[in-house]
């Protein structure tokens, strides 16, 4: 009795609101329970490649958020007019155009990061998350929801990227966002050579190699599945 009484007092979200429970879950689901990297296992290739440093990983994440969000929006708005026979080609043209625009903007406003990332920005076109969301969601849902779904999946990808790159940059180079923190020379905030307690410390060279990202993604998947029984054996 008490339970049902409590349930009825919870205000219900408006049915077709702009920001109801459904819309919120479009953003929050991909962050954890439906994460594109750890649950759908999409976009792993770029997660191995661009996660040596935090700053490029962050810019890469933002770029992917922009591309997934707007490609979902565009394709969803066009979905009733797209001929089924060439729908993949139309999707690819939209993705490629958006990625090119993102790259041109980066080149204009963040030239140094553009130089660091150049190849990988272009490779967003082949990132399976983008086309996966277009096929699985945008082709069958309304523009606003599709846009949120794209943003959500982009964010789900981005936070994994930033988390992995933070671990790799810290343990591989003793730095975060380019600020040197722990390392064996006087440029670093904590100079391990000058302290007797830390003189054993060495940056882990493995962390700089792409293999480290694979181990880290594996570890994240492991932790996530050991906590969420629902996720075991669904992908």
């Amino acid at each position: 009795m008490a339970e049902s009484a409590i349930k009825t007092t919870v205000p219900l979200a408006p049915k077709e609101g702009w920001w109801g429970r459904k819309e919120r879950s479009l953003i929050t689901d991909p962050l954890h329970m439906d994460n594109p990297i750890t649950v759908q296992v999409l976009g792993v290739c770029s997660a191995l490649a661009v996660t040596t440093l935090v700053k490029p990983a962050l810019i890469m994440g933002i770029s992917v958020v922009a591309v997934t969000g707007f490609s979902n929006l565009v394709i969803s708005s066009l979905r009733n007019g797209i001929p089924k026979q060439i729908r993949m080609i139309v999707q690819l043209v939209v993705i490629a155009a958006l990625v090119t625009i993102v790259e041109l903007f980066l080149k204009a406003f963040s030239y140094d990061v553009w130089k660091q990332l150049s190849v990988f920005i272009g490779l967003i076109i082949t990132n399976c998350i983008v086309m996966g969301r277009l096929e699985a969601y945008a082709m069958a849902n309304k523009p606003w929801k599709s846009f949120l779904d794209g943003i959500g999946n982009g964010l789900g990808y981005a936070w994994i990227l930033v988390a992995i790159s933070a671990i790799r940059e810290f343990f591989g180079r003793g730095a975060l966002m380019g600020y040197k923190i722990v390392g064996p020379s006087s440029d670093f905030l904590i100079n391990t050579k000058s302290s007797a307690l830390l003189s054993w410390y060495q940056p882990n060279g493995l962390m700089v190699l792409p293999a480290a990202a694979m181990f880290l993604i594996g570890t994240i998947i492991w932790i996530q599945r050991s906590r969420e029984a629902k996720l075991v054996d669904i992908s």
């Binding site: 089924k84 026979q85 043209v93 204009a108």
Partner: protein, 236 residues
């Protein structure tokens, strides 16, 4: 539901709309792209001699870089046999364009920084890394032998491995004090793995980036040699 004619028209319209949109963005952002490129090129050039300038050029603003360039840097364009070309702005020479020409038609930019301890000659070199092009500026003191600084750039080397030629200051710094001549003959500077033996002419490679390191070696070997005839003419 959709007939062939619809599909055909759809494709054509889609292609037109996207290409017009992209053309607008490219044209709209072109001035920014150009000024960024020129700005970063100047920073790159001065990056090899930041000790002499006393400021880190990567922290300088556009106007400061331009002012420094105007006051203290001479530009000379050289042809393939090392003769100066009059009336050609060295800054307009793009080695990416030159390397596609036959060897005898290539032109090379030389920048001369008029420092307090004598002139410093900044050579521009370009070569192949693992994934794409790499380039660099080598600063030579006025004995035309001793390297006083170097800076490198790359288009697409692997972050954390080959990209270290630019990101890790220790690599370009290790070129300081090296000599390009041995007993008067050109030997270049070799990037070598597993311990330097000839201290004056070798530097340590980056671990995990063998092909990029070899690329730097080749780039220096092929790139510096074209400036030697001009230096010979200056010595006389």
């Amino acid at each position: 539901m959709f007939n062939n004619r619809y599909i055909l028209i759809y494709t054509v319209v889609m292609a037109l709309v996207t290409s017009v949109a992209l053309a607008f963005v490219v044209n709209g952002l072109k001035p920014l792209h150009d000024s960024n490129e020129a700005f970063f090129k100047k920073k790159d050039i001065l990056g090899s001699i930041q000790d002499q300038i006393g400021v880190n050029p990567s922290k300088m603003k556009l106007e400061e870089i331009n002012k420094l360039f105007e006051e203290k840097v001479d530009k000379i364009a050289l042809d393939a046999s090392g003769n100066p070309i009059n009336g050609l702005d060295a800054e307009s020479i793009d080695l990416a364009v030159e390397e596609k020409k036959p060897a005898e038609k290539r032109r090379y930019p030389l920048f001369i920084y008029k420092g307090e301890k004598g002139n410093i000659y900044l050579m521009s070199v370009r070569g192949n890394g693992l994934w794409d092009k790499i380039w660099g500026y080598i600063a030579l003191s006025d004995d035309f032998n001793t390297v006083v600084g170097a800076s490198f750039g790359h288009l697409a080397e692997t972050p954390g491995l080959g990209a270290e030629i630019k990101d890790n200051a220790n690599f370009p710094n290790s070129f300081k004090g090296k000599q390009i001549l041995k007993d008067g003959n050109f030997v270049s500077i070799e990037v070598i793995k597993g311990g330097v033996k000839d201290v004056a002419h070798q530097v340590d490679a980056i671990s995990g980036a063998t092909i990029t390191s070899t690329g730097v070696s080749n780039m220096l070997n092929n790139g510096i040699v074209v400036y030697l005839p001009y230096f010979e003419s200056l010595k006389k």
